[in-house]
């Protein structure tokens, strides 16, 4: 049952991705892209990564869609009746080639949930799982790693978001207000 849902989700995500690339109307493309994000978010939940799924749903499917919609508000729909964009064969060949090269790394990955994968047998992982509850008093080990064990990294990420966001606001704000 679960595998059937997973395969259906994968097919849905692939179809939305192809639709995003092929649709001629930018608005339809954005909607397909947000459907893609939503599908990926559900897949994360199936892969037991609800934190990532929540992020994907909120950022990818939610906020990004709105920002894209705002961005295209000044564009116009291309003339003509065709629904699909013509495929550029050279670009397609390059894209397929890139995917083929990247796919070679897939065989090096352990199967999902394998007990002997490096992640599960690693000493650091084991330390987090053994000590996170007592040392940090939080029940979500992900949060324990993010905010306690790797707090310095998280501070770095927060500062990156801060710096990137503020500089973007400054640059765009100057462009808008003159």
């Amino acid at each position: 049952m679960t595998t059937a849902i997973e395969f259906a989700l994968l097919a849905f995500v692939l179809a939305s991705a192809v639709a995003t690339a092929l649709l001629r109307d930018v608005l339809s493309s954005i909607i397909a892209f947000s459907a893609y994000s939503l599908g990926i978010a559900v897949i994360w939940v199936f892969l037991r990564a609800p934190d990532v799924g929540l992020t994907e749903a909120a950022v990818g499917a939610g906020v990004m869609t709105v920002l894209f919609l705002l961005t295209i508000a000044k564009t116009v729909r291309p003339a003509g009746e065709r629904t699909l964009e013509g495929v550029d064969l050279k670009a397609l060949a390059i894209a397929v080639g890139l995917v083929a090269v990247l796919s070679t790394t897939l065989f090096a990955l352990p199967p999902v949930g394998a007990a002997d994968s490096a992640v599960a047998t690693d000493d650091v992982t084991q330390y987090y799982l053994d000590n996170a509850y007592e040392e940090t008093e939080v029940k979500n080990a992900v949060t324990a790693v993010l905010a306690a064990y790797r707090g310095f990294d998280t501070l770095g990420e927060a500062v990156v978001v801060y710096a990137a966001g503020i500089s973007l606001l400054l640059v765009l704000g100057r462009g808008v207000s003159g």
């Binding site: 929540l54 909120a58 961005t71 000044k74 729909r77 029940k139 905010a147 306690a148 704000g173 808008v176």
Partner: protein
């Protein structure tokens, strides 16, 4: 609809905002719930899935929804230009303070346990939640600011920024 204004002649016909009683009523009803969910995800990131980043985005979404329902300009005038940026700065400062504070008190960086010696109950847990909250402030502020600034670019006469 967006993108369908192929033969739009005036700028007024191109504005994104459409006053829809359905959208306004819906947003009015669900906004408090979404806001509460955002805060819940932020505060409960320590005990369930979620955290400051996700919660911050959800809180930012509240402003996005208000903007879509009641007009982006109106919402921006209501919120003001400084609040979002202020949130971002406050979040970074709070995170830094929690981190450096434990160093000042004689521990390592972000060593929450140090605060326990100064009478903070469950110092580690509450410290982590404070950090999550400050991350949420940063993210919510950035989402709101980006939304407003991109929408503002939409209202001018088009063309390149110069």
């Amino acid at each position: 609809m967006i993108g369908e204004s192929n033969d739009a002649t005036s700028d007024e016909a191109r504005t994104l905002y459409v006053e829809s009683p359905i959208i306004m009523a819906t947003v009015r009803v669900i906004t408090p719930f979404v806001f509460t969910l955002g805060l819940f995800v932020m505060f409960h990131g320590a005990d369930s899935s979620g955290g400051g980043f996700q919660g911050g985005v959800i809180v930012g979404t509240v402003v996005v929804m208000l903007g879509i329902a009641f007009g982006i300009e109106v919402t921006r005038d209501w919120i003001g230009p400084k609040l979002a940026v202020g949130f971002v700065g406050l979040g970074v400062l709070a995170f830094l303070l929690v981190g450096v504070g434990s160093v000042l008190l004689g521990g390592g960086f972000l060593e929450y346990a140090v605060y326990a010696d100064y009478g903070v109950p469950h110092a580690s847990k509450y410290g982590i939640e404070l950090v999550e909250l400050s991350i949420g402030l940063i993210v919510a502020g950035i989402v709101t600011g980006l939304f407003f600034i991109i929408a503002a670019g939409m209202d001018d006469d088009g063309g390149d920024f110069e």
